[in-house]
Symmetry: C2
Subunit: 322 residues, 2 copies
C-alpha cells in the first residue's frame, strides 16, 4: 500500500491525544498535548502539528499518511469546523480541519464529533465490524451517540445529527440540562447524571448506605459502582433506575433506525452487567413487537485508552483530497 | 427511454389501487380492485395482475415497464414480503413481490410499507425533491413515518425501521395502543387518537361545544376540524394539544437525524395551520439549541388521491432484476 497509515486525533477538553495507526488498528506512534494551554487556536495547531510531524517522520514521513481524522467536541463533518464547543477556550467557528491540513503537507483531514468518531472506530476495528446498522452510545460526562444507517454515519442535513443524549425522557419535572432544557437523557444516564441520582436518593431515602460516608457534592459514578459491588442497596438501585431509563430510551431509538446492535462505550459502560441488565429488561419490555429480541445490546470492543484515537483515525481512511 | 414507465400499487386494507406512471409523475393509466375479496392470496394476485396487464397494454406492453413498486401494510423492503399485517385476510408471511413479478413477465418488483412509499414519492415527485435528509410523517388512522437519510430510505437491519408512531410519548398513564403497549404517539396524534382526545375533553370539561351535539362514539377528526373552523373552543384546544404533542416528539426526532424538513401527510394534515401552528411552537420550544430554526415543517405536495400510487410507483424506478 502506497499510503499505509492514518493519523487519529482525539481532542478532549483537557488533553489532545493523537496516534499514527495502520489498517489493522495498531497504534504505531502516539503523543499528546494540552488542549487549553493556548488562547490562540493557531498556537494550539502549531504545537499539535509539530508533535504529529515528529511522529509521522518515524513511520516514513507525510507521504505515508492517507488521511487524518479528528474527533472533537461539536465537530462538524461537513464544514470541518468546531462550533461553539462549551468546554474549549476558542469561541466561534474554528476551521480546525483546514488549519491542520495546511500545516501538514495538505494531507486530507476529516473531522466529526467524538461520539461519531467512536462509532466509526467500532465499525472499522471493533464490535461493529460487518454491521451496517447500529447505534453507538457513549456514556461519559454526557451521553453522546453515533448512528450508523446502511453502513454510513448519520450526519443530517447540517452535520449535527445524532444527539441522543438530548432526547427528552422526562417531560414533567425533568432535570435541568447543560443545554438549557429539562429532562434530557444525559441528565440521568451520564456519569454526572448518575451522581445526581445518588444525591437525590441519599436525600429522600432512609436506608443506610456506604455512599453516606462520602461528601455528597463529590460522589462520582465510580463511588457508586464500588458501593454496588459491595451489594449496597441504594447503589444497586441507582444502577437499576439509570439502566432502566436508558433501556426505555433505546426502545424508542430502535423504532427509528432498527439497528442490529446498540453498543455501549465510556465510563458508565464499565459497570458491565450492573448497567446492562436493567437496560435489557427495559428494552425488552418497551420495544415495539416487530423489533422484539432483534437488537443486540453489546459493549465496545475497543480498549478504552486507545478507542478515541482509533475512532478518529478510522475517519482518516475516508478523508478525501480537497 | 427504452423503459419509460413504472407501475405503482398501493395496497390498503379495503382497496388496492394501481397506476402506470411516467418519469414526471403523470398517471397514464389506473385501476383498482378490492383487497379483501379473496381468501387465497393467489386469487388476489391473479385478479390484480390481470387488471395491471390490461393497463400496461395501453402504454405499449410489459417491455415499457422499468419496475413495479408496492406500498403495503407491514411491507418489508428486504424480503419483498408482507408479514403479519393486522387488517389483511392472509396470515403469516406472504412473498407478494415475487408472486406479482411471476405473473407479470418477471418485471422487477420492490415493496415497502405505505409510509416509506409516501416518503419516496415525496422525494421523487413532491415537496422533498432535492432533499437528502427529511422525515415524512403520515397522520392517518395511525401515525406512520418514512425517514430519509443521505438520500436513502432508512430500512434498518431488518427492513422495519421508521415506526415513529410507536415512539412512547407518555410513560405514565399513557393511552393503550393497538400495538399492545401504552403511550405511543399514534394514540394521541392520529385520526383515531384525536377523536379519543375529543371524547376525553367532552367528559372532563364543562364548556359548551358543537361536539356535544354528536354521538361521542362516532366523532371523527373531520367533525373536530369542522367545529374548530367554527371557533369552537374545545375543538381548537384539541388541535392545540395534539399539535403540541407532535411538535415535542418532532424535536426528539430532529436530535436523531437532523432533517432538513419534516413533511406532514394524511388526513390530519388537511387541518393545515390548525395542526401545524402548535407543532411549530412545540418544535421551537423543545428542540436542542444546535438545531434551532433549521428544520422546516411543510406539507406534502402530492395530491392526496394520487399520492399513494405515486409513492409506490417511485419505488419502481429503483427496482432491480433479481
Amino acid at each position: 500500500m502506497e499510503k499505509p497509515y492514518v493519523v487519529g486525533i482525539d481532542m478532549g477538553g483537557t488533553n489532545t491525544v493523537f496516534g499514527v495507526v495502520d489498517a489493522r488498528g495498531t497504534i504505531l506512534q502516539n503523543g499528546s498535548i494540552k488542549t487549553n494551554k493556548h488562547a490562540d487556536v493557531n498556537d494550539y495547531v502549531s504545537e499539535l502539528t509539530q508533535a504529529i510531524r515528529v511522529a509521522v517522520e518515524q513511520v516514513g514521513g507525510a507521504s505515508k499518511i492517507k488521511g487524518i481524522g479528528i474527533g472533537a467536541p461539536n465537530g462538524n463533518y461537513f464544514t470541518g469546523c468546531i462550533e461553539a464547543a462549551a468546554n474549549l477556550l476558542w469561541k466561534g467557528r474554528i476551521p480546525l480541519a483546514q488549519l491542520i491540513s495546511e500545516k501538514l503537507n495538505h494531507i486530507p483531514v476529516t473531522l466529526t464529533n467524538d461520539a461519531n468518531a467512536a462509532a466509526i472506530g467500532e465499525m472499522t476495528y471493533g464490535a461493529a465490524r460487518g454491521m451496517k446498522d447500529f447505534i453507538m452510545i457513549t456514556l461519559g460526562t454526557g451521553v453522546g451517540s453515533g448512528i450508523v444507517v446502511g453502513g454510513n454515519l448519520v450526519y443530517g442535513h447540517d452535520g449535527f445529527a445524532g444527539e441522543l443524549g438530548h432526547v427528552i425522557v422526562r417531560r414533567h419535572n425533568g432535570r435541568k440540562c447543560g443545554c438549557g432544557r429539562h429532562g434530557c437523557l444525559e441528565t440521568y444516564a451520564s456519569a454526572t447524571g448518575i451522581a445526581r441520582t445518588a444525591r437525590e436518593y441519599l436525600e429522600i431515602r432512609p436506608e443506610n448506605s456506604l455512599l453516606r460516608d462520602l461528601d455528597p457534592a463529590t460522589i462520582t459514578s465510580k463511588d457508586i459502582y464500588e458501593a454496588a459491588m459491595m451489594h449496597d442497596k441504594i447503589a444497586l438501585d441507582i444502577f437499576e433506575t439509570t439502566g432502566y431509563m436508558l433501556g426505555e430510551a433505546f426502545a424508542d431509538f430502535i423504532a427509528f433506525s432498527s439497528p442490529e446492535a446498540i453498543i455501549l462505550f465510556g465510563g458508565l459502560a464499565k459497570a458491565g452487567r450492573l448497567i446492562a441488565d436493567p437496560i435489557q429488561v427495559a428494552m425488552d419490555k418497551n420495544v415495539l413487537n416487530v423489533y422484539a429480541g432483534k437488537t443486540k445490546l453489546i459493549f465496545s470492543q475497543l480498549k478504552e485508552a486507545d478507542a478515541a484515537v482509533l475512532g478518529a483515525s478510522a475517519l482518516g481512511w475516508e478523508a478525501k483530497e480537497v
